[in-house]
């Protein structure tokens, strides 16, 4: 297998990683300053994950939109589909950070939570 160059996005160090998939399916990683880099690189090669962050519309004039995110990582290829879904929402209740507004978004196993304070 050939080597793949990656940049770890887990923390501000942004380590430049070199990852290689081995014959037995495991992934060999170099360049990481901590073990999180190994998990990141393995996920990148097998099934890349991202947290969705964005905004959802609300019914309140002082907050035309409010910041939201998925409470855990979701498959990268689903991000645009989540964005489209979130853009169809409109909140009618005032929320604070951590309040869940949609459970199990699109059946991906993550909840959509508000990250800004409207109260």
């Amino acid at each position: 297998m050939s080597e793949v160059k990656l940049t770890c996005i887990v923390c501000p160090n942004g380590c430049e990683l070199v990852a290689e998939k081995c014959g037995d399916g495991s992934v060999k990683v170099a360049g990481n300053l901590c073990p999180k880099g190994v998990k990141f690189a393995t996920d990148e090669l097998v099934r890349p994950l991202r947290t969705f962050t964005g905004t959802a519309a609300t019914a309140f004039p002082d907050f035309p939109v409010i910041a939201v995110k998925t409470d855990r990582e979701v498959p990268k290829e689903e991000i645009l589909r989540i964005a489209e879904y979130v853009n169809s929402l409109c909140l009618t209740k005032r929320c604070s950070p951590g309040d869940v507004i949609v459970k199990d978004v699109l059946g991906l196993g993550a909840d959509l939570v508000v990250t800004a304070d409207m109260n």
């Binding site: 940049t7 942004g14 964005g54 910041a67 991000i79 853009n87 990250t115």
Partner: protein, 408 residues
């Protein structure tokens, strides 16, 4: 009213400075011109904030919420929707004048923290020919439209400059259903962080064109197209270039500390940071009792260090020091903050923030006191967009110099 510390600006810097001072027993007032506290973090809805300070990835609003909760817990007085119009010296302290919907007001304080954040270099400050029709926006202004007002300022965007806010907006606009045609950067290396290029551009197949710039904007009332052109090493366009149709040009070409109030106080500024010159407690070198924190002092790339510096300043506001300042020489560096060191407390660990002028694979920062090498730190993968933070402990001396050297 009388205060021990008035903090101007309710972003992360102001909030943290206020909390640290209040914890030391000072009576603190925060003055913020916007309706809500939180500063620029309110519009930074993406995550990645707080990894160093809290050990978790937070979004901008979540990071701000933690400090706002702390401000409330400490019972710190806040005036929002209030603009500081003037500051002047009085009886060893300062009088701060403000205006708000409630009218004008004037307060006395012993010390002041300037936490007014930064301004964006505007599209007008960039050398582009043609008209300035609607649809030419600075990246931060674009972020404000999309993330706070819920407005999409265009459907087909070109991004000029590879600063982090521009990269973040490339992703945001894509998620909001706009098409981002590309990011154009005149320099040979990007100004934003590599991790943002990966997760904001590469993830969505948005191309980054280095050594390319926008030379002309076309359109009468609204942007209709721009001309992009390759540039040579002296940034001069080569060839005819190419017309790219778009209805939005987002300009992400850097930030400058907001210094209007510092100028009113006649404070000395550092031409390299464009913020005021300070000692290791972020107190103005030229004027006792005035602190500058966060982006008002120098533009930070990580909010975690904004909070760190602000905490230092806030805690110091409760002290009285008899200062003995020594200028910090900077060699091979773009800048160093603090620019001065109060050597009267020579044994304390001192934190220096600095930026390298160019990429270096291996480098070292050396600290000289009275010409003698007293400390050295090895660094790897040094890049100008990433601020360096190094702590040194050293003896009182008459001259201090920091030198960045590239190593083989």
């Amino acid at each position: 009213m009388n205060y021990g510390l008035i903090v101007i600006g309710g972003g992360p810097a102001g909030l943290k400075a206020a909390c640290s001072a209040a914890e030391k027993g000072l009576k603190v007032l925060i003055i913020e011109r916007e309706a809500q506290l939180g500063g620029i973090l309110k519009q930074c809805v993406h995550d990645g904030f707080g990894v160093i300070r809290f050990g978790e990835k937070l979004t901008g609003p979540e990071y701000a919420y933690r400090d706002i909760t702390e401000v409330k817990r400490l019972g710190i007085e806040c005036l929002t929707g209030t603009f500081v119009t003037g500051i002047c010296d009085k009886d060893g302290g300062f009088v701060v004048e403000t205006t708000s919907a409630q009218g004008i007001r004037s307060d006395f304080t012993e010390k002041i923290a300037l936490a007014t954040g930064c301004r964006e270099r505007t599209p007008r400050q960039v050398n582009i020919h043609g008209t300035r029709p609607a649809g030419v926006l600075a990246a931060g202004a674009c972020q404000n439209f999309v993330n706070l007002k819920g407005l999409l300022p265009g459907k087909r965007a070109v991004i000029l400059g590879s600063g982090d806010i521009g990269l973040i907006m490339a992703r945001r606009l894509t998620l909001e259903g706009a098409e981002v045609i590309g990011v154009y950067e005149a320099k040979a290396t990007p100004s934003g962080l590599q991790r943002n290029i990966r997760q904001c551009l590469d993830d969505f197949g948005i191309p980054l064109h280095l050594k390319t710039t926008v030379t002309d904007v076309y359109g009468d009332k609204r942007v209709e197209a721009v001309r992009v052109s390759a540039v040579d090493d002296s940034m001069n366009p080569v060839g005819e270039g190419e017309i790219v149709e778009c209805d939005l040009l987002v300009v992400s070409v850097g930030l400058i500390p907001e210094n209007e109030l510092a100028e009113k106080l006649g404070l000395q500024t550092d031409p390299a940071t464009k913020g005021i010159a300070v000692d290791q407690y972020m107190m103005s070198a030229g004027k006792e009792g005035v602190y500058a924190v966060g982006n008002a002092l120098h533009v930070h790339d990580l909010v975690d260090y904004v909070s760190e510096g602000a905490a230092t300043a806030g805690a110091d506001a409760a002290n009285t020091r008899k200062r003995s300042l020594v200028k910090v020489g900077a060699e091979g560096l773009m800048y160093v903050v603090p620019q001065y060191v109060d050597v009267s407390d020579a044994n304390e660990k001192k934190t220096f923030y600095m930026r390298a002028p160019r990429d270096m694979a291996v480098a070292s920062v050396k600290l000289y006191a009275d010409g003698e090498l007293v400390a050295e730190r090895k660094l790897k993968n040094v890049k100008p967009p990433e601020m360096l933070r190094i702590q040194f402990k050293f003896r009182a001396s008459d001259s201090i110099t920091l030198r960045l050297e590239e190593e083989e």
